[in-house]
Amino acid sequence: MKKLNKNWLVLFVLGFVVMLLAACGGSTIPEEAVTEASEEGVEAAEDVDQEIVYAATSDAVGLSPIMTNDSVSSNAISQIYETLFVRNPETMEIEPKLAESYETPDDKTWVIHLKEGITFQDGTPFNAEAVKYTFDKLRDPATAAPRASLLEPVESVNVIDENTVEIKTKYPYGPMLAALSHTNASIVSPTADQAQDLMQQPVGTGPFQFVEWTQGESLVLEDNPDYWGGAPELDKVTFKVVPEISTAISMLQTGEVDFIDGLPSDQIDRIRSLDNVEVLEKPGTPVYYLNFNFSKEMNQDPEFRKAVAAAINRDAFVENLNGLGVRSDSVIGPKVFGYTEEADNGGQAYDPELAKQLVEENGYGDQTIKMLVANRDNYMQMAEIAQAQLAEAGFDVAIETMEWGTFLDATAAGEYDLTFLGWSNVTGDGSELLYPNFHSDNIGASNRSQYSNPEFDELVNASRVTVDQDARKQALIEANQLLLDETATVVMNHGVVTAATADDVQGLKLDPNGQWFLENVTRE
C-alpha cells in the first residue's frame, strides 16, 4: 500500500511538471522550428518547386459542379472547371470568362457569345453544345442537382451556332449573370460526363487538371499545359484533409502545408504572430444573424423582437472577433448587390435601457427562451455573448447546443425559439440571400425563420423578375429596409474572408465569397 501511495505522488508531481512544461513550451518550442523552416526556405529559394499544399478541415464531397454544393468541393472544382461569367473580386462587377459577350434582345432572352478555340482537358472542344449539355443536365429533375434552383427560371437552352447559346427564361430573371457565375454552373465536358463519373474523375476547361484523389486524405491536381489562358506557374496542387484547424495551423507553421483558409477568429492572433506566414483578410459576402422562429407566438410580437435587438450589443461582439467581422445592421452586406450604406444603422440600435423597460412592461422574462446553437464556427461565441446580454436585459435564455447535421434538421422543423444562422452567398447577389432565407415560398425549406410578409415577398419578387439592374437594386434596398423596420432578424456581423499562406506564396486571389483561384499563384 505504501508503495502505491508513493506511486501516486510521483504520478501527481510528474503530471504537474508535464503540464507546466506544456504551458511554457507552447510558445517557445515551435518558434524555433519556425526559424529553421524559414531558413531552409531561403536556401531553397533559387530553385523552388512550383507546388502548393492546401489543407481543409473536411474532404470534398465530389468533383462534379453539377452534383455538389459545398465550399470544400467548390474550392477544388473552381480550379478544374470554369464558368461563363465571374464576379471580379475587386470591383464586384460581373465579367465574362468562358463567355466573350452577351446581349438581351428581350427581357426573357439571353444570347451569350462564347470564346473560341477553348478545349476541355480531355480534348473535347468547348462550344455551345457543351454549354447546352451542362445546363440541361443541371436543370433536369432526373439529375436531382442540389443547385438546380440556380437555373429554375430557365425555360430552354438553345444552340444558335458553334459559339453562340441562347437562354430563354420563363419570366424576366434578374440574377441570371450572378447565377451563371456560380461555381455550380461551371461547364463540364460532355464526352467525359458520358464516359465517366465526374464526381471521381473531373474534366473541365480550367487551369488545373485532375491527377488522383484518395478520399479522406488528399486530392492532387497538376497544371493544364494547354490552358487557353496560358499554363499556370504551379506544377502541382495538393488538397489535404486536416480535420483539426489548430493542427492545420501548426502544419502551416512548420511548412508542411502552404495554405489554409477560413481562419477562426479565436486563433487569428496566433496566426498573425507567425513569422513565415502571410494572412489575407478581406470583407466578404457572408452574413451571420440571429434568427427568430416566427411560428412561435412570442416572436410574432414586434415589441419582443425589438427588445431582443436592443439588448444585444453587436459592436462589442464584432470587436470580440479580432477584426474578422464587419459591423452593420443591414442584412444585405457591403459586398453584396443590393446594399446601401444607409442601412448600416437602419435597424434597432443597442439600447439596454429600452430593452430592460420593454422586458419589464411586457413580462418577457417570465418564460424560458430556447436558444438553439450549432457547435461550429463562431455560432457558440454569438450565442454566449447574446445570452449574457439578453439575461442582462431580463430575458431568461437557455442555450442548447447541437452538432451541425442535427441542428439543420431541428431548425428546419422549427424546434427552437431563437437561433443563429449564416449565409455565405456565393453569387454575391442580394436576391440570392433574401429569397431563400426570408421569402414565404421557402417556408419549410431554406426559410428557417418561417418569416412571411406579402409586402416583402413582392419586393423580393420584383428584384428577381426584372433585368434592369437599377430597379433590382432599388427593390432589394426596400426589402432589406423592411426586414430592419420589422426587426425580422438581428444581424450579428458580416463576414471577413480569410486565408493564410506561407510567405513565399504569391498571387493568391481571394474572392469576397471566400473562394479562391490558384491560376496566377507562384512560389518564390
Binding site: 500500500m1 506544456a22 489548430s246 461565441q381 449574457a388
Partner: protein
C-alpha cells in the same frame, strides 16, 4: 417483538462499534496522503457551500473589454476567459456543480446497486437473473454507455448524473452481492432467521450495517470517477450547456485559446486533477483503514 430480547448484546455491540470507529479513524489519520485528500475534499466542499461569499464576480457575467486577462491580473487572480468572465469565480461555482452532480450520481448509483446487490446476494433465486443483467450492463464501456443514455435523454447535467449513476450500478451491485454472500452465512444471521425475523429486517438492519465498509470505499472512489466523467461528457458537449461554469466545459472552450490564453485550460484542468486525486487517495486511505485485508476494485 424480537427487539425486547436483546438489550445486552446491543450495548456490547455499540461499544465494539465505537472502538471500531476509533481505530479506523486512527488508521486513516496515520495515512498522510489520505489526510491530504480529505483536506482537499473538505476545502472543496466549503468552497462550494460558500461560493457566493468568496467569489468577487458572477460566474456568468461577461466583460468583453477585459477578455483573456492572464493569471495574477488585478482583480482577477486566475485571469479571465474569452468573454471576460472571472476564472476564479467560475472554478468555485464549478466545484459546486461537480460535487452536486457527483453526489447525485453516486447516490442514485448506490440506491440501485445496493438494492440489486442485496436482493441478488440474499435470494438465491434472484441471484442469477440479477447478476446476468449486471453483466449485460458491464459489457458496455462506461463512457459509451453514458453517451448512449444521454443520446436518449438529451443533453443536460441532470441527465449526465443519471447516466453516470446507471453506469455505477453494476460495480456497486457486484461488491454488495459479494459482501452479502459472506455475511449471510454468519451465525447471527442464522439466529435472526430462526427467531422469525422478516427477510427485509434481516437485510436492512443486520446485513447492510455490516457491509458499509466496502460501500463507503466504493462511494468515495466513485465520486472521483463521477466528477471526471461529468467533466469528460461536458467536454464533449453532452453535459453542461453554456454558460454553465462546468470544469470540463471550461476546458473544451479554452482549448481554442491554448496559444493566447493557456490558463483557460490549465486552471480547470488542475481543478479536476486535484479533485479526482483527492477522492482517490481518500478512498484508498479509507479502504486501508476500514479493512486492510479487503480487496475491492
Amino acid at each position: 417483538m424480537t427487539t425486547t430480547v436483546q438489550p445486552v448484546p446491543h450495548q456490547e455491540n455499540r461499544k465494539k462499534r465505537e472502538k471500531y470507529y476509533v481505530t479506523t479513524l486512527k488508521r486513516l489519520f496515520s495515512n498522510k496522503l489520505a489526510i491530504a485528500g480529505l483536506v482537499i475534499v473538505v476545502l472543496q466542499v466549503l468552497m462550494a457551500i460558500f461560493a457566493p461569499l468568496i467569489t468577487p464576480y458572477d460566474p456568468v457575467a461577461q466583460n468583453l473589454m477585459k477578455s483573456e486577462l492572464p493569471v495574477f491580473s488585478e482583480g482577477h487572480w486566475l485571469g479571465t476567459d474569452n468573454y471576460g468572465r472571472d476564472v476564479w469565480s467560475r472554478i468555485v461555482y464549478g466545484a459546486r456543480i461537480s460535487l452536486v452532480v457527483g453526489v447525485v450520481a453516486v447516490s442514485l448509483g448506490l440506491i440501485g446497486g445496493v438494492t440489486l446487490g442485496l436482493l441478488g446476494g440474499y435470494y438465491r433465486k434472484l441471484d442469477s437473473p440479477i447478476m446476468r443483467i449486471v453483466d449485460l450492463l458491464f459489457s458496455f464501456p462506461g463512457i459509451l454507455l453514458a453517451m448512449l443514455i444521454i443520446a436518449i435523454l438529451g443533453t443536460s447535467l441532470i441527465n449526465v448524473a443519471i447516466a453516470i449513476s446507471i453506469w455505477s450500478i453494476p460495480t456497486c451491485a457486484r461488491i454488495v452481492r459479494g459482501s452479502v454472500l459472506s455475511v449471510k452465512e454468519k451465525e447471527y444471521i442464522m439466529a435472526m432467521r430462526s427467531m422469525g425475523a422478516s427477510d427485509l429486517r434481516i437485510m436492512v438492519k443486520h446485513i447492510l450495517p455490516n457491509i458499509t465498509a466496502p460501500i463507503i470505499v466504493f462511494a468515495t472512489m466513485r465520486m472521483a470517477t463521477a466528477i471526471l466523467s461529468t467533466a469528460a461528457l461536458s467536454f464533449l458537449g453532452l453535459g453542461a450547456q453554456p454558460p454553465t461554469p462546468e470544469w470540463g466545459a471550461m476546458i473544451s472552450q479554452g482549448q481554442d485559446f491554448m496559444w493566447s490564453a493557456p490558463h483557460l485550460t490549465i486552471v480547470p484542468g488542475i481543478a479536476i486533477m486535484l479533485t479526482v486525486f483527492a477522492f482517490n487517495v481518500l478512498g484508498d486511505g479509507l479502504r486501508d483503514a476500514l479493512d486492510p485485508n479487503m480487496n475491492i476494485d
